[in-house]
Symmetry: C2
Subunit: 242 residues, 2 copies
Amino acid sequence: MAQESPTFSPLYRQIKSLILQALESGEWRPGQVIPSEQELAARFSVSQGTVRKAIDEMAADNLLIRKQGKGTFVASHNDPRALFRFLRLVPMDGDLAPPQSVPMDCWRAKAGQEASRMLGIELGDPIIIVRRLLKFAAKPVVIDEIYLPGEVFPGLTLEVLQSWSGSLYSLFETRFGLRMIRAQERLRAVAADRSTSEALKVPEGTPLLSVERVTYTYGDRPVEWRRGLYSTAEHFYLNELN
Amino acid sequence: MAQESPTFSPLYRQIKSLILQALESGEWRPGQVIPSEQELAARFSVSQGTVRKAIDEMAADNLLIRKQGKGTFVASHNDPRALFRFLRLVPMDGDLAPPQSVPMDCWRAKAGQEASRMLGIELGDPIIIVRRLLKFAAKPVVIDEIYLPGEVFPGLTLEVLQSWSGSLYSLFETRFGLRMIRAQERLRAVAADRSTSEALKVPEGTPLLSVERVTYTYGDRPVEWRRGLYSTAEHFYLNELN
DNA sequence: TAGTGGTCTAGACCACCCC
DNA sequence: GGGTGGTCTAGACCACTAC
């Protein structure tokens, strides 16, 4: 008889969003354990099974990582397994060695039409632009141009980038407390222009894979827009379809 | 004290593989309902919760589709929602209308080096090669060359292809009882050769997206290898990274 | 009203990890 | 031995669909 709420949400989803809030607020940091399922069940006054289902979904979303016998951990880009989560480039023959990131340039600018739309900020807001090279086995394969909202990355300079040995997202997470959750990539084929061809050491006009990526943090907030040009002479972009 | 089995498999996974077997054997066909969770629980002598967990995983794998109040159904490529499961091409501005498939050629041949390796068959085994165009809004965007193991597709001819109005995989499923489960794509950028440029109506040398796909049916058995050349002037390949 | 999947609970036991 | 996540069960109730 009672009016059902038109936006009915099961208990475990409410628990999920409470845990999400705690993550967002930094109550538990990347790499750390979160409380056990029993503790969370007590804290939220629900059964362990309900907490379990919430955590199940978050583990499927790559937000948490379960380890039997040890506990549940906040996912981190410092984890070496996270390195290839957003990088789908694979050498055509052989081994999947981690690439070397070579920051080449880093400067400040004002957001133009496209950057403001992609990053969800106002026209003219401060942004940071990074140019960097990705090398596989000492050979240049990708040139990236990365656009970041200036307010989110205070104090980001070329020096900071160059002195960091891990991945870019690992730097963002450690230094700016910003965790990348998901991304969307748009791929096209383009011809190498002069400066790109020099950077990647390919003839001008060579077909390259253009990969535009928008990356989101908690709450589906876009915090990075980048365009990469991939030389696919000895590598390909691998995609699993399920 | 007892020796633990080194290949321990929980009950719900055993149930899962039993249900998988039933699917493979054709006991329930694509689009049909499978028995209710209660019935399956009785059949396998386990609790409903265990069956439920097995079905949960299979739904996540896109093998089954749950519909509250109605039942659980075998996933089918005849379902219009399945159309874009393997096709990641999206128009740059606007609407996602279903493309039109235009089969151009279909002939028999013997498997060469590459085809035999990709399809897991012997060198010289009979294969079928299909060439077809994909049109979006009446404009040619993709040219596909598709390699199929001959034994799996008896009686496949250009006529059969041309008289079928649905998707290719929907034809395979309906006519040959073959369900495509997952696929792996390798993307590169290449330059359009003469014949491709004519088919896609682009200048020779235009950068194109080369998409090589291997598609698998039950039991991870490869049953299709195709190479598509995508014109990315007005479309892009969209990929979600989670 | 009856049947389906979806949620929630409580409790028992198993597998794994660390002390 | 004691803690963690992982499995399995049984039962109650809710939400949705069909008739």
